[in-house]
């Protein structure tokens, strides 16, 4: 391994000397990497890394479909990736440049193939579930010790939400995640592509709307950690990061993540290379760097999300690999559901519904 790394570094150093100021531009989710990996990549390859972040698939998709984003690597979620592949936004990966491909986990690749058949365009970065972030103390104060902290009824039953509104509830500003959750709560198929079924989510969301403090997809990490809010419907790793930030701050705030027992959405964030990437060569190097077992483990250990890299598992700390909220056991996996991309017409209905819920109009 050391020799391999050594040769890699020398080769990279030589090529870096030949091509001055080589750059690679990566566009990834906010709070989604151990930032020391970024410097490590620059040191190993001599390529200047420009790392930007976003917090919404919609914004990323608009940039991809407008074309000329200037990014070499982007990280859309599976259902969005599928549509962007269809639009011709990505280039096929050159597998010969991805020498670490053998590290990948076949169980995850089988699932991501649903969005990217044969995994030709993308490599899994991380995956996780969407569920309930709970400030255990405040929720127990509001709803009593037997509060349904692992059930969708916590956030979709107005009786509970009315009491929780006092201490603050955030929802993700992501219609593609919140509508399926609302459908799951009323026993409908969360992956339904039927406009009439999708429309049923509106009533569920509207009844609890008055008790929601804000719709936002990244602010809830700090808000939970500070004790500013007591419940967030958010992404697993983000909530676990909030748990750790609160523990570090020693502010008496205790956060727990629970995937809803009715079923949780399982999603996959995939690294892909835009068709018009200025430097696809460096983009492959970045992908291969992340696919290294040690690097991937470092990222997961830092952000508390599971990854699609089987070889990295032996380097994961017990807090990550041993936590069923991150690496769910067989029993929980059965309870997870996935979501595919809406067709254009249903998408319009879903977004319209979301605007209506948020703005009350």
């Amino acid at each position: 391994m050391t020799t391999k790394l050594f040769t890699l570094t020398t080769v990279a150093a030589l090529s870096a000397a030949a091509v001055t100021a080589e750059e690679v531009r990566v566009y990834n989710w906010s709070d989604y990497i151990d930032e020391s990996l970024l410097t490590k990549f620059e040191e190993e390859t001599g390529i200047k890394l420009i790392y930007d972040v976003f917090d919404s698939n919609e914004v990323l998709e608009t940039k991809m479909l407008a074309g000329g984003s200037g990014y070499d690597v982007v990280v859309p979620t599976g259902s969005f990736l599928a549509r962007q592949i269809q639009a011709g936004a990505f280039q096929k990966l050159d597998q010969s440049k991805l020498t670490n491909a053998e590290n990948m986990w076949d169980a995850i690749e089988a699932r991501t193939a649903l969005y990217d058949p044969g995994n030709e365009y993308s490599v899994n970065y991380m995956w996780g579930t969407t569920g309930l972030g709970v400030n255990t103390g405040q929720v127990a104060d509001a709803l009593g010790a037997d509060a349904p902290v692992d059930s969708l009824s916590l956030v979709f039953d107005p009786a509970n939400m009315e009491k929780l509104a006092e201490c603050g509830v955030y929802f993700l500003d992501a219609p593609d995640e919140m509508i399926p959750a609302a459908l799951k709560y009323i026993g409908e198929d969360p992956n339904s592509m039927d406009a009439d079924v999708v429309a049923k989510a509106e009533a569920v969301l509207t009844t609890v709307r008055p008790y929601i403090k804000k719709f936002h997809s990244s602010e809830y990490i700090n808000a939970l950690a500070n004790g500013e809010i007591c419940v967030a419907f958010g992404w697993s790793g983000d909530i676990l990061q909030a748990r750790d930030r609160a523990a570090e701050a020693e502010n008496g705030v205790e956060i727990a993540y629970n995937p809803p027992k009715e079923g949780a959405l399982m999603w996959f964030d995939q690294m892909a290379i835009p068709v018009d990437a200025p430097n696809p060569e460096a983009a492959h190097k970045f992908l291969n760097f992340i696919m290294d077992a040690h690097n991937m483990a470092a990222a997961s250990n830092y952000v508390y999300y599971a990854n699609g890299n089987k070889a990295s598992q032996e380097f994961l700390v017990e807090d990550v690999i041993g936590d069923p909220a991150i690496y769910p056991n067989e029993e929980t996996v059965k309870n997870l559901y996935i979501k595919e991309a809406y067709p254009a017409k249903v998408q319009r209905i879903a977004t319209r519904l979301w605007t209506k819920v948020k703005s009350g109009t």
Binding site: L65, A66, F215, S359, T361
Partner: protein, 293 residues
């Protein structure tokens, strides 16, 4: 020849910076949504000529806007917010401009500088600063709770109140400067004459000063009203999820819905709505120039 060039230059400006972009937006507004790069397919080809263009004209995206009450509600709500915000800006801006115009001459450049100074900082950063001031744990609430005036924090951030504060703060200089320039030119002897003829100070102000600064008031109001109507940054940062403004709806259509054709149709209508105040503003400016000549 020189005359021709003089007329020609502003027209080039108008064509390059207004008509061409507008034609592009209009073209997208008449297109169909698609999963591709870019995410729309034009419904017609300019090359086929005007007759083919008219035959293929498809106003589907504009009819969509009339079928859903979201859009006109958003237009009306923007209009209301713009009118209220402009009124507040005028009520706050006029006394400031008046005080500046009445200040000793040697102070005026300094006062003018103080009005312009905030522009040295990025607009975005100044709006972010207001988030820090207005939030529940913000400076304002901490101060009020420290003084004992309130026991629970006031919820201002993420409400329409915060949007008004942001707009008034941001556009205040655009109101003050034209009013100041109108008041500065005011001949003080006119007020004296009014008072000599028996006017109280207030009625002299009402009957002489206000009418003579009318052009400044109108110019300032339009300079605030027009950009406020399409404002996006202030409502999205300071407003709540229920703050409805057309700029936000446009953003959602474009980014969340990736529905460029409908977003473009919304933009075209917004522009048409703005044409009325812009023409009125132009007329006011023209009248003022003629009066000066």
């Amino acid at each position: 020849m020189r005359r021709f060039i003089l007329i020609f230059v502003p027209y080039v400006w108008l064509i390059a910076l207004f008509l061409i972009p507008f034609a592009m937006v209009l073209k997208i507004a008449l297109s169909d949504i698609a999963i591709s790069i870019p995410p729309y397919v034009p419904q017609f080809d300019w090359a086929e000529g005007i007759r083919a263009f008219l035959a293929q004209l498809d106003l589907e995206n504009f009819t969509w806007l009339t079928q859903d009450d979201l859009y006109w509600k958003a237009y009306l709500s923007s209009l209301r917010i713009a009118v209220i915000a402009t009124t507040f800006t005028l009520l706050i801006g006029y006394p400031i401009a008046y005080a500046m115009a009445r200040a000793p001459t040697e102070w005026r450049p300094t006062l003018m500088m103080l009005i312009i100074l905030p522009f040295w900082t990025s607009f975005l950063i100044r709006v972010y600063a207001w988030m820090g001031i207005l939030s529940n744990e913000g400076i304002l609430n901490q101060f009020l709770m420290w003084t004992g005036l309130i026991s629970d924090p006031l919820v201002i951030l993420n409400t329409n109140t915060a949007v008004y504060i942001g707009i008034v703060y941001t556009y205040l200089p655009f109101m003050i400067l034209p009013i100041y320039s109108a008041l500065e030119r005011l001949d003080a002897s006119l007020i004296e004459a009014a008072e000599d003829l028996g006017c109280s100070r207030f009625s002299a102000f009402w009957l002489v000063t206000i009418p003579l600064s009318k052009t400044g008031i109108i110019a300032g109001s339009f300079l605030v009203f027009i950009p406020t109507l399409g404002e996006f940054v202030i409502p999205s940062l300071l407003g709540g999820s229920d703050t409805l403004m057309i700029g936000k709806v446009l953003w959602e259509e474009f980014f969340s819905n990736r529905d460029w054709p409908v977003a473009s149709a919304v933009a075209v209508i917004l522009l048409l709505l703005l044409v009325v105040p812009i023409v009125l503003f132009q007329r006011n400016q023209q009248k003022q120039q003629e009066a000066e000549q």
